[in-house]
């Protein structure tokens, strides 16, 4: 009741209506200006990398002296981008495949069964998404180095699976929940075991969800810097880590060469982002397991 009277008190126009309207308009304009300013700077940042990667010489002017394609060739050989890209694809491919294989069945069990300690299991799945990678990456790297996996391709893949398996689980749980359990019961009545049920009934029905989850995993793994950086050795660097080392050692190589590498990284990420956005809403990229928590 108190809230009600508050509203009524505020509802009485204390200022002339025109002044109120002017303030409202000013407020809207301010918000839009801020947003547009942000977007312009964002495009400026991306555009600067793009322009620089094609520049012959660009020191004290608005635009480069001339345009060239040669930095892409020099970046390719200087940073051994061929090898780096192969490693990146290996890591990303393995992470996508394994997180699907481990995550989707687990999501199914979590959505369909009530079992003892389910809350605890859920907490274990939530924690890696809430704790930032740098925090758990250092103890994780320590353990991996002590078991001899540190610095190897397998170590990088294992480390990257830590946030992606829970991510797949939390994205998939609502997808499983919306499938009518009677379909599964019908399959069971006709004698299908859990495995056949999965292959012939659930996988086709879950495919859109699996595709969306795995595409998001793909985009996130290409861009996952911290975990790969902490666990990778010289031969198991992905593109984003190689880019970090190049920027870190700026001055050793030409800026344009580093920018050419950055553009290659950008294109690689963008292709998959565009594909992913056909299946998912952009907000899903950050909301992690929010859907699962309601």
């Amino acid at each position: 009741m108190r809230a009600m009277t508050d509203i009524d008190a505020n509802a009485l126009p204390r200022r002339p209506v025109t002044l109120n309207a002017a303030f409202a308009k000013l407020w809207v304009i301010t918000i839009w200006t801020l947003l547009i300013f942000f977007v312009i700077n964002l495009f400026g940042i991306i555009g600067a990398v793009l322009t620089s990667s094609f520049a012959t010489r660009w020191l004290r002017s608005w635009v480069p002296d001339g345009l060239t394609f040669k930095w892409y060739f020099s970046a390719w050989s200087e940073f051994q981008l061929g090898d780096v890209l192969i490693t990146t694809f290996q890591v990303v491919g393995a992470v996508v495949l394994l997180s699907g294989l481990i995550g989707v069945p687990a999501a199914y069990a979590m959505a369909r069964r009530e079992f003892p300690f389910k809350k605890l299991v859920m907490l274990i799945f939530l924690l890696p998404l809430l704790v930032p990678p740098v925090t758990y990456g250092i103890p994780l790297a320590t353990v991996l180095y002590q078991t001899g996996l540190g610095g190897s391709l397998a170590g990088v893949i294992l480390a990257n699976l830590v946030p992606t398996v829970p991510f797949v689980i939390l994205v998939m749980i609502p997808f499983v929940e919306q499938i009518d359990p009677r379909i599964e019961s019908a399959a069971r009545v006709f004698g299908a075991g859990t495995f056949r049920l999965f292959v012939t009934v659930l996988v086709p029905l879950l495919m859109p969800g699996v595709l969306a989850a795995l595409l998001l995993v793909l985009v996130r793994t290409i861009a996952m810097f911290e975990l790969t950086f902490l666990t990778a050795g010289p031969t198991s660097q992905t593109l984003v880590v190689a880019l970090y080392y190049a920027v870190f050692a700026a001055g050793v190589r030409a800026v344009q060469s580093i920018d050419a590498m950055a553009v290659i990284y950008m294109v690689l990420t963008m292709i998959w982002l565009v594909i992913a956005l056909r299946f998912v809403n952009p907000t899903q990229i950050v909301t992690r397991g929010k859907q699962a928590r309601g």
């Binding site: 509203i7 020191l59 687990a106 930032p132 250092i138 830590v162 859990t194 985009v219 984003v240 970090y244």
Partner: protein
Amino acid sequence: MSDASIPLTIRLKAHGLDGVTLLVLPAALFLLALFIYPFSYGFILSFRPKDGSWLGNYSKFFSDPFLYETIKTTLVIALPVTVMNVLAAIPVAFRVRLMRHQRLITTILVLPITLGTVLVAEGMLNYFGPQGWFIRTLTLFGLGSASSIKLVHNYWGVFLSLVITGFPFTFLLTLSYVSGIDVALENAAATLGARAAARFRLIFLPLLAPGLAITFCLSFVQAYSVFPSAVLLGAPAGPTRVISIAAYEAAFEQYDYSLASAIAMIMGFTQLAVVMVVLMSRNLFYRGPAAGAKG
């Protein structure tokens, strides 16, 4: 049939344990082995320093200003950025919520998140650098010059990079919470004559408070663990020597995994402390459904 003769599988099934439940095992075991175990291992390792005394790492951390100052440095960067991002995200989310081309905006804003901090850092070195387009534009309008404004390799470089990658993150989270509030509630208030400001203060803010608390926590935790941009865009030896740099140096430059684990644990617990404070203050607000009630 007596109780004793019921097969074990049936009795387990009554507790929800059958073939399907077992599917959760691979994922649970994987995370036990690669998340819970390393964390516990790191926790124990942090109490086994090189010098032998069990609290050696922690006393070293809190007695060496080069180490304990990193907490302050990180907070001085992370807290203002998070507060600013959350405060900016709320009005923008309320505007965008009403838009028809909402997807265009969200797609543009998701770019810096997917591209990641390393690429944004490289772009910022160009764009905000002394010869970059940003400073050039400021000079053009007579608002400053390359000698008076420095935006990279200092505090502001890290700050700006956390705005560029952090604001979209905060905004998209806020937007998903704002869109979850039933429009009918706002319409009802508007029908009763409440103006926009009153509607926000009395209807939205209480409903949004839990979501905002979580958004603040997630954004803060991300900003607090800033690493690549603090190295590439900041002054990692001084003003932006954040706690993750200290942990990294201990592990990979001094090979003192015990000290590195201790720093990682301190990092985790400071994050936890701030999150607890935020979530506790959240209890002071309304808790309940944000969807409209019947009738």
